[in-house]
């Protein structure tokens, strides 16, 4: 989520290769360095993602300048997203050439968000093919992975003018809804928040399964929805003449 106040990134930690092979992996990696904090969240192929992250750590040689680029050397978030996209494309191509003819899906999709130097944070979605789109105020969020269950609350609640901690709260409600409907999304959650105009994280936090605040948020949200439902009057739709309607 990218609002005037700053950037909030949230990721869960559950990965699966089928329901009988569920593990826990960090899916939000935070890189803090020289006047910068960059978060990279991943969905899809874990092996492609890990290979891409490894390439980023080692640096990727720019064909034009022959210099090795890393997340520490890129001068802007747009260049960071492009570099991540390049790593992702290289990793996916490498996987595919090794596993020729296999039916395995090596696609991974990434979110790249953060601040470099002065100015506002930026947020990008990097597609499996390496190209990217940037988050803009009209729709102040981007999602990857299991995005549908948690989308209605974002559409209803989040605007570019939402306060930073309210944004975090809305994001947690969105995850709460998603986790209730999809077993493949689960705690712990990793959270990163960066306030506009700064390059150090305001929040880096892991929400574990015994987190008092998140438990309370879940309980309050469920209770509030129940109450809201009860407050809505009974539908007045009466029986109508029967017959075959087509």
């Amino acid at each position: 989520m990218l609002v005037r106040d700053g950037l909030v990134m949230i990721a869960d930690t559950r990965t699966n290769a089928g329901v009988d092979d569920v593990s826990q992996y960090r899916k939000l990696r935070v890189h803090s360095g020289d006047a910068r904090t960059i978060g990279v969240a991943s969905a899809g192929s874990l092996s492609t993602t890990q290979a891409a992250m490894q390439m980023l750590n080692e640096g990727i040689v720019d064909e034009a300048t022959e210099e090795r680029e890393t997340l520490d050397s890129v001068p802007s978030m747009f260049r960071a997203a492009r570099l991540v996209g390049k790593a992702l494309r290289m990793a996916r191509t490498g996987m595919k050439s090794v596993a020729q003819g296999s039916e395995v899906n090596f696609d991974a999709t990434l979110l790249v968000g953060g601040s470099i130097g002065v100015g506002r944070p930026h947020l990008f979605l990097v597609y499996p093919t390496g190209n990217c789109i940037e988050c803009w105020p009209d729709t102040p969020y981007l999602q990857i992975g299991e995005n549908k269950y948690g989308k209605p609350i974002l559409d209803r609640a989040l605007t570019y003018e939402t306060d930073l901690y309210e944004t975090l709260k809305i994001g947690l409600i969105s995850f709460s809804s998603t986790m209730r409907s999809n077993l493949a999304v689960g705690l712990p959650l990793d959270v990163l928040a960066i306030r506009s105009g700064t390059t150090v994280p305001e929040v880096i936090y892991r929400i574990e399964s015994d987190d008092a605040y998140f438990d309370d948020l879940n309980a309050r949200w469920g209770e509030a929805l129940r109450h809201a439902r009860e407050e809505i009057p009974t539908p007045p739709y009466a029986p109508q003449p029967t017959g075959t309607a087509r």
Copy 2:
């Protein structure tokens, strides 16, 4: 939705062949006849669905008895679901043989619900291949089409013991959430409700775009969610020491 009190079926009326080709078609057909009311809701290929419905109207010859079966002649809801599945399979196979080599997807998925004679209503989901599953009290609903946006509220709110009109209300809230997040789902909505122990509809109703109750439900739900959000305390997660976390 199938609860102890009865059956509620809701369908929207928007179909599309791409965002530049959106039309309105009834997707919930209600068949009332001899000691029976049967609702058939559809998602997916409109042409396959229409062909299947046409076959059902004309009747499908049973290979064993050589008799022509229709929704009026089947002795139970299970047989109704099987007959609909047979029609769907025949329609899809017919489409595919005509359009050989084309990339068009002729899959359609149906919900078949209703009451025949005494006893409780039943609800089935018929897959594109014609086989079906039945709704049971553990998860008292089945969805087809764009199901994810509206699923969290069903998971939270609906149980087998929910009252019939409360069930209808929950279904409408689910559609309200879905319509907010997906342009491909839109008013009017068609509603069918059958109370357990009866075979005549308790409600057959079309919710048009100027429906006062549904407008009010939308407004109240949005307002209640906003209020619920505000009542949840601000996340207490404080800044943590910076560094590269992996």
